[in-house]
Symmetry: C2
Subunit: 381 residues, 2 copies
Amino acid sequence: MTFVAEALSLTPAAAKRLEEKRILSKAFVRHPFFKDVLEALRLGRKFGEYEEGTLVAKTVEGLEVVRGYPKIKRALTLYPTIKKHFRGEVIFEEKMNGYNVRIVRFGERLYAITRGGFICPYTTEKARMLIDDSFFKDHPNLMLCCEAVGEESPFVPKDVYGIKKIDFFVFDIRDKRTNEALPVKEKEKLSEEYGFKIAPILAEVHVSKAHEVAKDVIEDLGRKGKEGIVIKDPKMKRSPIKYTTSEANCSDLSFAFRFFGEYGRDFMFSRIIREGFQAFELDDDDAFERRCMRIGRAILEAIVESIREVSEGKRIYDRMRLRFYDLEVLELFKEHVRRMGVNAEFSEPVEDGDSYVVWFYRLMKSTTDKIDFILKGNLWQ
Amino acid sequence: MTFVAEALSLTPAAAKRLEEKRILSKAFVRHPFFKDVLEALRLGRKFGEYEEGTLVAKTVEGLEVVRGYPKIKRALTLYPTIKKHFRGEVIFEEKMNGYNVRIVRFGERLYAITRGGFICPYTTEKARMLIDDSFFKDHPNLMLCCEAVGEESPFVPKDVYGIKKIDFFVFDIRDKRTNEALPVKEKEKLSEEYGFKIAPILAEVHVSKAHEVAKDVIEDLGRKGKEGIVIKDPKMKRSPIKYTTSEANCSDLSFAFRFFGEYGRDFMFSRIIREGFQAFELDDDDAFERRCMRIGRAILEAIVESIREVSEGKRIYDRMRLRFYDLEVLELFKEHVRRMGVNAEFSEPVEDGDSYVVWFYRLMKSTTDKIDFILKGNLWQ
């Protein structure tokens, strides 16, 4: 706690408030795999200027603050929203569908921090294999903000990117202490220099025509099952804005209704409202019909699938294929997941070349129990 | 307050708890139209055995307690739910789509109490015209539990029943003090004797076949745009259970998403989950396709309609046609609605034979403001 107050330069009063509000919690599992880190805490909520997910660490080389990735606000209509928020040129960058990771270097090694501010063993293992750490020697103040994407994702497995394992796509390079982002061109240049993959840059257009171009871009991404775009000021002085495809909204709805006992109603509601505004702005009659069917099917098929499984005596779970190069990291990941409060089971690891494949099951106990209760003839409410 | 403690025979400790929990609130607007009532309070929540919506009144003839209408639990599947909860014969009664009213006599006049325990001036005026009050002289301990149904409904206007104005359909006759319900046959007999309309009794079947019969009944009601059924023990010793048609669920969804700023997410969520269980139990592939389209369209059309109206500079409101036989009652109703916290406007009354037609507008300010905010190019979250 005292090292946090020191790292964040808090006044004694602010330090006291931080403690009283119980915002801080442990950010990692102590282990030789994380040997550069002596202590690490995360902010569970925004505190002053510090974003939720900010990590404060005492490392072998001193105190480190890694700012939380800022919340990106969402446009529900393209027009006049883009025009209202930007001036001059804007960049459309693909918003890839994975999980947000900040990669930093502490001491001798790389560390991958998830959105909530946890140092993730699974992601860290892959970052150390895939990311050239000489970048951090040359730029010790920077962090790589990446989407971790692919089939072997413990959080958001997707096969639309053709990535069988997992990979990192840089979308921002930021000062880890101030959260200031490099201009898009500099991010591109540095990423090229160090061989990082980046989230695809789809277009650069003048703000006056941006909503027109965005329509085509979104339609195209939707057809390919991609998630959406992030609209950026090339200089990164104005906050980016995100906008998603109908297919992504419906995929979220499927997921939320498949596990309806676990997922929040606000999550479902917000996706439905997004579809309403997109239909209003973009749809002719045919597109609207297709959207109604898409959204109805996304919701109902998901619920019915879960009911059917429980009726067949199965439990409802989400299932992810993972790959570990070191079985110690698997054990560490199990402990990490347990501390995050996830109800998980793991298959026995199966050797596959230089690594081990493990299935990670997230049990959806609330959904399973609710359906089971109803199917036994009990009443609702 | 003291009269409530006396009427409910509360111990001093219970009376104190009732007061501290702030469960009681005013149940009527004092007015000569309600001259038999000196004071009246309602329970905003369940308290001990007393249901939410229980009314306690000091009348010209003494203290009266009118029990709240009990919550009827819902079946999400027909099988095995019906079989589990009943024995022997069950009755399927139509669940009409209006609003729940308890009609009682205090002193010289009839009073209509809505679900929440308010004495409603609009409904009371109609009850006094349509209900034969000799019933209450012969049975002073009973109340009529009715669905108030028709086009001229201030709460749930529907045209599917062919009722241009408003009418009452008795579904239960209960002891107003104990809430004990008469057996279905006795309700029918008394209703016939006094000329009351009743909610249609659709079938009486043995519990072993009830789920099969219910499927046909529900399908037929759905085709006609009706709401659903209440499944009853003929003796009314076991609690009734309700089950609704897909059309009613979708109509609820339309309503909720048209006014998405006002309606709760739980309201939307519960209707969607009902559809999921119904699809699982009843649908073949074709019916499932139609259900997906029905639910998708119900939701999206409603949202887009509201967005379109705001984009045209209109405000979002729900609009009901009402009829008053006495303009004093209109004024009383305006005050009643104001006290219920409804943001309402009324048209000027227009004479129509022996009565006045008035349009009642419920302004949906939150929906209007949210849409307007987004359409101006502002960001979500």
